[in-house]
């Protein structure tokens, strides 16, 4: 119990720390509002011009809410790769090792604590915009519940990917390029702006099987089109990807710890 309570407390402290400067990060919410408005107008024009009632199996209203969720998820991403990179370079990682906590779990708890707050704020703003523009049609209890079940694993998976990139600081001079490429791939292959059903048919099975789909597309799709079979499939993929990423992380972390050099004399 103590084991979990310490990490829960770290997550709560991180959330509180994030709330302390919520005013300073409000620009993020303005950005979210602008982006959502632009893409919603684009989708409205697309549906109107094609005269289609559904695109990729989603109605215009569903598409708007899909976009709301994907944007809320991707814009809530914390700077895990950058923080791990800095911790490696400035020796904070070494300092953390003098405490009776796991550095990986410490970073995970911090990231989840911060992300929960930012995601909640993003969702609130996105929901207001979507509701104003297209109404609340796909909002259902089942959708909300299934979203709540898939989100933690989506956040975990994204954390693991970013942590691995941050650890690359042990070998690379600069990991920011790698982190940027990773985040853009996640956006494109994760279905941030376009649901994966609108990808070419031959590409869809591959893209859906990749871990990026489990981070963004999966939770958003299950929210706008709740379906238990789809839910089981998404959760299974998330668990499998999380296990694979965790194994990679553990191996890399062990190798990396042997490379902890002493900074300074």
């Amino acid at each position: 119990m103590n084991f979990f309570s310490k990490y829960l407390w770290i997550a709560l402290t991180a959330a509180r720390s994030n709330m302390a400067y919520i005013g300073e990060v409000s620009s993020r919410f303005i950005f979210l509002g602008v982006i959502l408005y632009i893409f919603m107008r684009l989708w409205q024009v697309t549906y109107h011009e094609t005269s289609a009632s559904q695109l990729g199996g989603l109605t215009l209203t569903q598409m708007m809410w899909y976009l709301t969720i994907t944007e809320a998820i991707s814009l809530s991403a914390t700077k895990v790769a950058q923080e791990v990179d800095e911790d490696v370079r400035n020796g904070t990682l070494a300092v953390q090792l003098t405490k009776p906590i796991s550095y990986v779990l410490y970073r995970l708890a911090t990231s989840l604590g911060e992300r929960t707050i930012i995601f909640s704020m993003n969702l609130l703003i996105g929901a207001i915009i979507a509701n104003t523009m297209v109404g609340s049609t796909p909002l259902s209890l089942a959708g909300l519940l299934l979203l709540a079940c898939t989100l933690p694993l989506a956040f975990l998976l994204d954390f693991l990917g970013n942590f691995i990139i941050g650890l690359a600081a042990f070998w690379l001079e600069d990991t920011s390029g790698l982190a940027l490429i990773y985040s853009r791939i996640t956006w494109i292959l994760g279905g941030l702006l376009i649901p994966l059903e609108l990808f070419p048919y031959w590409l869809q099975p591959l893209v859906k099987a990749l871990p990026f789909a489990s981070m963004i597309y999966g939770p958003a799709k299950i929210f706008v089109a709740p379906d238990i079979n789809n839910f089981v499939e998404i959760i299974s993929r998330q668990i499998m990807a999380s296990l694979a990423f965790s194994i990679c992380l553990i191996i890399l972390y062990r190798i990396a710890l042997r490379r902890v050099f002493a900074n300074g004399g």
Binding site: N2, S5, K6, W9, I10, T13, R16, S17, N18, A20, Y21, N90, G91, T92, A94, V95, L97, T98, K99, P100, I101, R258, V260, F261, A262, N263, G264, G265
Partner: protein, 335 residues
């Protein structure tokens, strides 16, 4: 006395890659070379050396962050690199340039978090926290976000935070760096007080001679990975340089001719009635110099001092450097 820290023939080598044209060549750098010493429980030790001497590497091995290449170490009965998490509950660490306090939150929130991290009993924690707040005079800024604190206030909170879980030994890595004179003195007093009153073992690294003089009783100097001096601060200061500083105030202008002719005596400063002499006691006995001073003119006041610790330290570092120049390449062997 039971040792709190014990090192036996500790050695740490790093493999570094050097670019040579298109190829990379591996070479081994010896950061810590056959270091042996022990620190008794309740001792206060300054562990000093120039940049790159191996201080941080040694501290990182003692706190379990780094594995040594050879040798053994025991800190409070634990092997640091094998029993890091058990040891972490018994030691505290303060790094002057890295904070453990949450930047956007007040210190009291970090204290609450540390209570959970160290699994402290909440009643014991409250008592301990209140006592630390009083002793470190934290109450005025306990609820102020850390980003709004002065460096002196922050460092007091840092040290208090590292003492919350009642550690038996405290490792301090340049705790007074960047502090003003008053804040520096306050922090030194607090650490010394804790060492004296609570029996806390203090292991300090610093480049500030004042920290060493005020906090530590013993000093271990490391240079190029090896211990070059291990002695009491007072002994090192008294005996290492073999020089004395004499300040003299005369009633009338003195005649300096005989003093200037003395072997091993040099005039460091001279004005109308004031004279400062540096005496190499190995060349000229101090009493002989005093006789010459009294003969030079009517003395109003006289004080004899040891050279400042800073000077002693720079002398030791310079000596280490000379040795290395003669023995270039030691510590680096090509594979």
């Amino acid at each position: 006395m039971i040792p709190a820290v014990e090192l036996k023939n500790l050695k740490k080598e790093f493999v570094v890659l050097k670019r040579k044209g298109l190829w990379r060549e591996k070479s081994t750098v010896v950061a810590v070379d056959d270091v042996t010493f022990s620190v008794g429980k309740g001792d206060s030790v300054a562990f000093i050396g120039p940049n790159g001497a191996g201080k941080s590497t040694t501290i990182k091995m003692l706190t379990g962050i780094l594995h040594p290449t050879a040798g053994s170490a025991s800190v409070l009965g634990f092997c640091p690199w094998k029993e890091r998490s058990q040891l972490a509950r018994q030691i505290g660490a303060v790094f002057g340039q890295r904070s453990q306090l949450w930047y956007h939150l007040p210190p009291k929130d970090t204290f609450e978090l540390l209570a959970r991290i160290y699994n402290l009993d909440l009643r014991d924690f409250t008592k301990r926290r209140d006592m630390l707040i009083e002793r470190f005079a934290l109450s005025a800024f306990l609820s102020t976000p850390v980003r709004k604190l002065s460096l002196g206030q922050r460092m007091r909170a840092e040290v208090a935070a590292s003492l919350l879980h009642k550690p038996e030994a405290l490792f301090l890595d340049e705790p007074t760096i960047g502090l003003d004179v008053v804040a520096r003195q306050e922090l030194r007093d607090l650490i010394r007080e804790w060492n004296r009153d609570e029996g806390l073992t203090v292991f300090l690294t610093s480049h500030d001679a004042g920290d060493i003089e005020h906090v530590a009783k013993r000093v271990i100097v490391i240079n190029h990975g090896r211990v070059v001096i291990d002695n009491q601060v007072s002994v090192m200061k008294r005996s290492f340089l073999g020089t004395k500083i004499i300040h003299i105030k005369f009633h009338e202008e003195p005649s300096l001719t005989s003093l200037e002719e003395m072997h091993g005596v040099s005039v460091a400063h001279a004005s109308a009635y004031i004279l400062k002499l540096e005496v190499d006691t190995e060349k000229t006995a101090i009493e002989k110099t005093i006789h010459a001073v009294l003969a030079a003119g009517p003395v109003a006041d006289i004080t004899i001092e040891d050279p400042p610790l800073e000077k002693v330290i720079s002398h030791i570092y310079a000596q280490g450097l000379q040795t290395t120049n003669l023995d270039q390449g030691r510590g680096i062997s090509e594979i």
